[in-house]
């Protein structure tokens, strides 16, 4: 996620529990894949938080001050990596259904056709 070359995800908070079984996957992820993720994204600030007795989650904080929280309880480390990569890959915008797949501010170059135009 980068709007005109500017990365949108500023901070990734990895919250886990060191006792609970639902955090097993994310604990394995933190040992195996998190350092690689940190290295590949030097612009990203990754913070690990310990919250005992709670289910683990990934929280992404974006430049437009939007927070996206993804619960990763009972997930494999590969699935946790996929979710973290998805957070990193997206802009912080609200996901809404678009009518068109083309977003432009200048829809016409040669002039919009009307019935009065004659070639």
């Amino acid at each position: 996620m980068a709007l005109r070359g500017v990365w949108q995800l500023q901070k990734l908070v990895v919250s886990y529990c060191n006792w609970g079984g639902s955090s097993r996957g994310i604990r394995a992820f933190m040992e195996s894949e998190l350092p690689a993720l940190k290295q590949k994204n030097p612009q990203l600030e990754v913070v690990t938080e310990l919250s005992r007795g709670q289910h683990p989650y990934l929280k992404g904080i974006y430049r437009n001050r939007n927070e996206r929280v993804v619960c990763v309880k009972n997930m494999d480390p590969e699935q946790v990596l996929l979710n973290a990569t998805r957070l990193r890959n997206s802009l912080g915008r609200k996901v809404v259904k678009r009518r068109t797949r083309h977003v432009t501010k200048h829809p016409s170059v040669q002039g919009t056709w009307t019935t009065a135009v004659k070639f």
Partner: protein, 248 residues
Amino acid sequence: MASLRCIRELSRRATTVLSINQTRSICYLPAIEVSGTSISHGTVISNRSLTRDLPCDEGEESSEGEDEDDEDYEDSADTEVEREYSPAEKVEEAAEIGYKVMGPLKPSERLFKPYEPVFAIVQIGSHQFKVSNGDSIFTEKLKFCDINDKLVLTKVLLLGSASQTIIGRPILPDATVHAVVEEHALDEKVLIFKKKRRKNYRRTRGHRQELTKLRITDIQGIEKPEPKIVYKPSKEAVTEQSKAELVA
């Protein structure tokens, strides 16, 4: 399939037996037997086409559509087939879809220019878009590119500006459109609801499509008008042109 193989074996043995006897009329029998079976549809089909039929019936079709030959699925639960692509394969498949990865964007580069009144019709996969400088496009997920990658879209069908139009047959080989990958994200969830009334059948399913957002930075292959300092230059050029046409 198995029955046809049996028939083939039998026919082969029959032909060997008959060749020893060397009688012409009986030699025709195995051919008639094979063609008479309903499986072969009246002709002997080659092995390749037969083997191709089976996986299509049994296995699920992959959503990516990358299969050239029969593929063994690793996980039956995954609809996508995970393949290891060599760099040459990546470039080739990307070129087929209609784009080329140039490399990551360096932070010192200034790619994002102000608007130019030039447009191009570009094809990515099976979708065509009319793009201009500074537009964003949502396409199906492009596999071999990361965020902040520069792309060159090679399938350009038409170039146009205020004074000139260049039409490709079907593509223009010298035209290029430069773009930058902005995000790989999931679209909003759509609910697929199926119901057959009075038959006790109701199914609900959710689907999120994976999309890639590209921002178009540059169009090359056509003469661009010189940038004027006046506000809204494109409108003026257009009205001048239309007036000239009316006069002519």
